[in-house]
């Protein structure tokens, strides 16, 4: 697997093959992530495709400070918020999905809406190292098993376990932050 800096450099130079492989490797998990906020499947796909359209169109100007994964999730997050704000459906969605099946043992303070949850995940992904964030997304958004992740990234299952532990710790930390 190439490192982020190398992938970004190649894309900036107009390497179509590299762009395509980035798209193919992150598309599913980004769409699922978008769906945590935008409940509409087709819109979620459009948001992610549009992001890649812009990345390629403005590739010369591409500036990525965090990990590539963190950047993509943050960008999808911003686009989801933009979409919702422009469609004036935010309240409706927030109410609909903010736990129609709320469990009785939850106090109001426990309940996050999905917008907060998604924002927290974008934040976590910016803090986590490249590989750790990638593994977290493959597990949570692509629904892959540890063994499948290990095979895809050609790392050991031990590495996946260690990184997932770290991701869960960050996840918990982020949920506890107000």
């Amino acid at each position: 697997m190439l490192r982020d800096s190398e992938i970004i450099r190649r894309i900036k130079q107009g390497d179509e093959g590299q762009f395509e492989s980035l798209f193919r490797s992150s598309y599913v998990s980004l769409v699922r992530y978008a769906k945590t906020l935008i409940r509409d499947h087709d819109t979620a796909e459009e948001i992610v495709q549009d992001l890649f359209f812009r990345i390629w169109k403005d590739k010369e100007k591409l500036q990525i400070e965090s990990s590539l994964n963190g950047y993509l999730y943050r960008a999808v997050h911003n686009r989801c918020l933009h979409y919702i704000n422009h469609n004036k459906v935010v309240e409706k969605y927030a109410r609909e999905m903010a736990f129609s099946e709320t469990e009785s043992n939850e106090t109001p303070g426990d309940i996050l809406n999905y917008r907060d949850l998604q924002a927290k995940i974008a934040g976590i992904l910016e803090r986590l190292p490249e590989k750790c964030g990638k593994i977290f997304c493959m597990s949570r958004f692509e629904g892959l098993k540890y063994s499948e992740i290990a095979q895809k990234l050609s790392v050991s299952i031990k590495t996946v376990e260690a990184n997932m532990g770290r991701a869960l710790k960050e996840f918990r930390k982020a949920l506890a932050e107000q």
Binding site: R24, R140, F141, S154, G165, A176
Partner: protein, 334 residues
């Protein structure tokens, strides 16, 4: 701050176990899980699981999405119409000879093929010269192939319709898109390599003419064409196949894929080893005027630096000076 303390309470090992428990990878440490559940005031478990569950409803078709994005990009003139195969050759006499040879080979193989099957199917051929490496070829199925120097890859126009078949001579790294129903086969002279979706490296240009396959991910099957042996290779293994002999061993060379990644790592190897690698990976010719220089040992990584920087790095490390004569660097003691 109180919350932070709670997090500190678990060791890294426990976080690892907890994430395995919550991701349903294992379920034998129920005590740890119930302790965590009792303290879980922020619905960590609920959200962790929900991230996965709320999305399992609809399949996402990446090919369709890519085609849609690709046509939008080409409508806007941002990308070429159809996936293009770059052919940039150096215009030399060698090139012309190579072109004629390739042309003859192409005509020959088309004639053979027509003779064999009675159908005319066009072949796409991509080849690299001595000065080119890492030429990336994206096949119609999305698989990527990186060609090392002096390498030739070909496939028929009907690629993918009747199995995914390509022919290789030289060295290349393959990243194959997964397709369970359509196996990918590389015809590599003395052996053929069959996979469903994985990444691996093939060398057909070894001096002893054995075909060498190194597997990075997934599983690969190598079959001899002249003997009936099969090798099944797992990640990290190198298999070699010649008419007389087949064997597999674990790869111990950290620089095996350096021609593709540009990264060379060392752990006290002597400079003559380093120079041999630099020739292979960066096409650098370095000559030491005094053989003592070659006995120095090297421990820093070399990672996609320019030739100029690499040679300066070596000179500074051992107080040497260099002169450049054509494409050859000469090193001398200061």
């Amino acid at each position: 701050m109180k919350e932070m303390n709670k997090i500190e309470k678990y060791t890294d090992k426990e976080w690892e176990e907890l994430s395995s428990l919550l991701s349903e990878e294992q379920n034998d440490n129920k005590d740890l899980l119930s302790r965590f559940m009792a303290e879980d005031r922020h619905n960590t478990i609920k959200y962790w699981k929900e991230l996965k569950e709320m999305n399992s409803d609809k399949e996402i078709n990446v090919d369709k999405a890519w085609n849609k994005l690709h046509s939008r990009l080409s409508e806007n003139g941002l990308i070429a119409e159809a996936p293009v195969i770059r052919r940039s050759f150096v215009r030399t006499a060698y090139f012309r000879i190579a072109a004629i040879v390739i042309l003859l080979l192409c005509i020959g193989s088309v004639l053979l093929y027509m003779n064999d099957k009675g159908i005319l199917s066009r072949k796409t051929i991509v080849a690299t010269t001595d000065n080119q490496k890492n030429l990336q070829v994206t096949l119609p199925d999305g698989s990527n192939i990186f060609l090392n120097r002096n390498t030739r890859l070909s496939y028929r126009e009907n690629f993918g319709r009747n199995g995914r078949n390509v022919t290789l001579s030289g060295e290349a790294f393959f990243e194959i898109a997964r397709d369970e129903n359509n196996p990918f086969t590389v015809n590599a002279g003395k052996a053929s390599v069959k996979v469903l979706g994985t990444s691996f490296n093939i060398i057909t240009s070894n001096p002893d003419s054995a075909v060498e396959v190194f597997v990075k991910t997934g599983q690969v099957m190598v079959s001899g064409n002249e003997n009936k042996n099969n090798l099944i290779l797992d990640p990290g293994y190198i298999g070699t196949m010649s008419p007389e002999h087949s064997e597999k061993s674990v790869n111990t060379d950290p620089n095996y894929m350096s021609w593709n990644t540009g990264l060379l790592v060392y752990d006290g190897q002597t400079l003559d080893v380093v120079f041999r690698d630099l020739k292979k990976v960066y096409n650098m010719d370095i000559v030491a005027d005094n053989p003592d220089i070659l006995a120095n040992t090297w421990t820093s990584p070399i990672d996609n630096q320019s030739q100029e920087i690499i040679i300066r790095l070596i000179c500074t490390s051992f107080t040497l000076s260099y002169t450049k004569d054509g494409n050859v660097y000469h090193l001398a003691k200061k």
